[in-house]
């Protein structure tokens, strides 16, 4: 089991370094093989956690506080599983997407590897300071991936993203400093009883700083300003990685703190994240409905879908609320990866990134459009998709607590999602303009987009195991 734990960090570091040494644009095959191994390790780990419960591993036998402890419970195991399950198909997609001489793909493989290593390390970190370091690793690698697009808009988007992410993690690091100053430890496991016993004002400030910093990194409304340009201007495989996984990492951290060390403080402010989440759903959906560019539309849809994650906070006392959140993380992760992948195919084929340019796509790229539709189904929350399961659990928990406002927001968000998804589908079903050439697209791209979207729907049928994993180990 410990081999799986360390393997999930060491293996991506190894292939990222190898890809860097091989030179620009190379290293796709080792990455795909290694990601296959990582997926196996993550499944193995999830199985182990489901059977044996939480697992802690002191790296090198040093142990905290000077050494680094790795820990995995049901929540981390689920996030690790999701990361590898999305990264593997996206790697296959990216290999076909970036042609050998494509400048946008020159640095994709090393950066993607470091990003995955950072994500895996974040989900395994057992103390607040290591969480900070891994958060920065993820942020810096993600900024690099956005900038790799190469043009001035991409570099500007990357810089905007960089300042947002540095500000967010700076606030978080200050929170860590205050917590250490108050208690003399940063271990998540030892902090909870200490905070429960006594929480000086310093710790309240720390909680607020960590909350604001991480909300900025998760692009929670009104801190979402950096997300649409960064996710909308990056190449499709990068957008998919960022939207599906990177924003979930800081959400995971918020959840981890909320359920762990800051639990005694969290009860005071539990309506705040839900209110902002509801605002994110309406604002993000509205911007997606109005968007001219296809990838901008999908990026604003991410802003909206992230809002659902924050609706669970006032409901966490109910059984099923945490599961609803994790199911939404999975549903949105798979569906958004599939949707960006499908959008990448359409943009490659039509040569333009606009919704209006999609006319006639149904004849040329039926499989891709089907993939887009399936992903849209998950975002809308239609049965039997995992999005439906997430909304169902959320509404059930909301009604059990009498919080019918949350149930209404969740339902309204589904309707708004339907509007922007059907806007794209309707345009794609229009007749193609005369003389509109469609460039040939590798079949691999279409099939990987389809696989991701189909997985987001099919997960709805097999959600029980996942919910048991999160419920049992978390």
């Amino acid at each position: 089991m410990t081999a799986a734990l360390t393997g999930l960090i060491v293996v991506p570091l190894a292939w990222a370094t190898l890809a860097f040494l091989l030179g620009p644009g190379r290293g796709a095959v080792p990455a795909i093989v290694a990601l296959g191994i990582q997926l196996g390790l993550a499944v193995n780990l999830a199985h182990g956690v489901a059977v044996e419960g939480t697992l802690v591993h002191p790296v090198g036998g040093w142990g905290a506080p000077l050494g680094i402890d790795l820990a995995v419970d049901g929540l981390s195991a689920a996030m690790l599983l999701l990361t590898q399950a999305i990264a593997l198909p996206l790697a296959v997609y990216a290999r076909a997407y970036f042609k050998a001489d494509d400048p946008a793909g020159r640095h994709f493989w090393p950066l993607a590897g470091f990003l995955i290593a950072g994500l895996n390390a974040l989900f395994l970190a057992a103390d607040l300071f290591n969480l900070y370091v891994t958060l920065e690793l993820v942020g810096l690698a993600a900024v690099g991936l956005v900038a790799a697009g190469g043009g001035a808009p991409q570099v500007a988007a990357a810089l905007r993203y960089l300042f947002a992410t540095l500000l967010g993690s700076g606030a978080y690091l200050l929170a860590v400093a205050l917590v250490y100053g108050a208690y003399g430890t940063v271990s998540i496991a030892t902090l909870l009883p200490l905070v429960t016993a006594e929480a000086p004002r310093l710790v309240w400030i720390a909680g607020a700083l960590a909350g604001v910093g991480l909300a900025l990194k998760t692009a929670l409304f009104p801190f979402h300003f950096w997300l649409p340009p960064a996710h909308g201007s990056a190449p499709a495989p990068v957008s998919a990685l960022l939207s599906a996984l990177v924003v979930k990492a800081s959400f995971y951290l918020i959840l981890r703190l909320w359920l762990g060390p800051f639990a005694p403080l969290a009860a005071v402010a539990d309506w705040l994240p839900a209110t902002l989440g509801a605002a994110a759903i309406f604002w993000g959906s509205w911007q997606a409905i109005r968007a001219v560019k296809l990838k901008r539309l999908i990026a604003y849809s991410t802003v909206a879908q992230l809002g659902y994650l924050f609706l669970i906070f006032p409901l966490l006392a109910q059984t099923g609320a945490l599961q609803a959140g994790i199911m939404q993380v999975f549903a949105h992760g798979l569906a958004k990866a599939g949707m960006f992948a499908a959008a990448g195919v359409m943009i490659k084929a039509t040569g333009q990134d606009t919704v209006a340019g999609l006319a006639g796509v149904v004849e040329r790229l039926p499989l891709t459009l089907f993939a887009f539709g399936l992903a849209g189904m998950t975002l809308m929350g239609l049965p039997p998709s995992s999005g439906f399961l997430a909304k169902w659990l959320l509404i059930e928990a909301a009604l059990a607590q009498g919080a019918w406002v949350i149930a209404i927001v969740a339902l309204a968000g589904g309707l708004l999602a339907a509007i922007y998804v059907f806007r794209v589908l309707r345009q794609a079903f229009l007749l193609a303009p005369a003389g509109g050439d469609v460039a040939p697209v590798p079949r691999t791209l279409e099939w990987t987009a389809f696989a991701l979207s189909a997985a987001s729907v099919l997960l709805g049928l097999r959600g029980v195991e996942l919910m048991q994993l999160v419920g049992g180990g978390g």
Partner: protein, 101 residues
């Protein structure tokens, strides 16, 4: 009451952090923003070391954290500088274009 050295560090750090955040948020010039980010980081490091210094005895754990934090800040600064140079080479400007909606 005479403030301990640790508390002086921590208060100085808090002021530097606030200055840094204001700089990152308010300044348009990118190089100055990067400087402001570094100011913010230094403020956090001072707080980290200062607050943990109980009874004026140094504690090794926050020192190790600050060392790690400095490495991260250097890496982030290098990335930011590289991006600013690239932006300058591509567009000839040292400020971010207004929100490109």
């Amino acid at each position: 009451m005479i403030a301990s050295t640790g508390m002086i560090f921590a208060v100085t750090g808090a002021v530097l952090f606030a200055l840094g955040v204001a700089g990152v948020v308010l300044i348009d010039h990118l190089l100055r923003r990067i400087l402001a980010f570094n100011l913010m980081g230094s403020g956090i490091f001072l707080i980290l070391v200062g607050l943990a210094q109980r009874h004026d005895v140094p504690d090794p754990v926050p020192q190790a954290m600050v060392l790690t934090g400095i490495v991260v800040a250097v890496a982030a600064t290098a990335l930011a500088l590289a991006l600013v140079r690239k932006l300058h080479a591509l567009s000839g400007r040292l400020t971010l274009p207004g929100d490109g909606e």
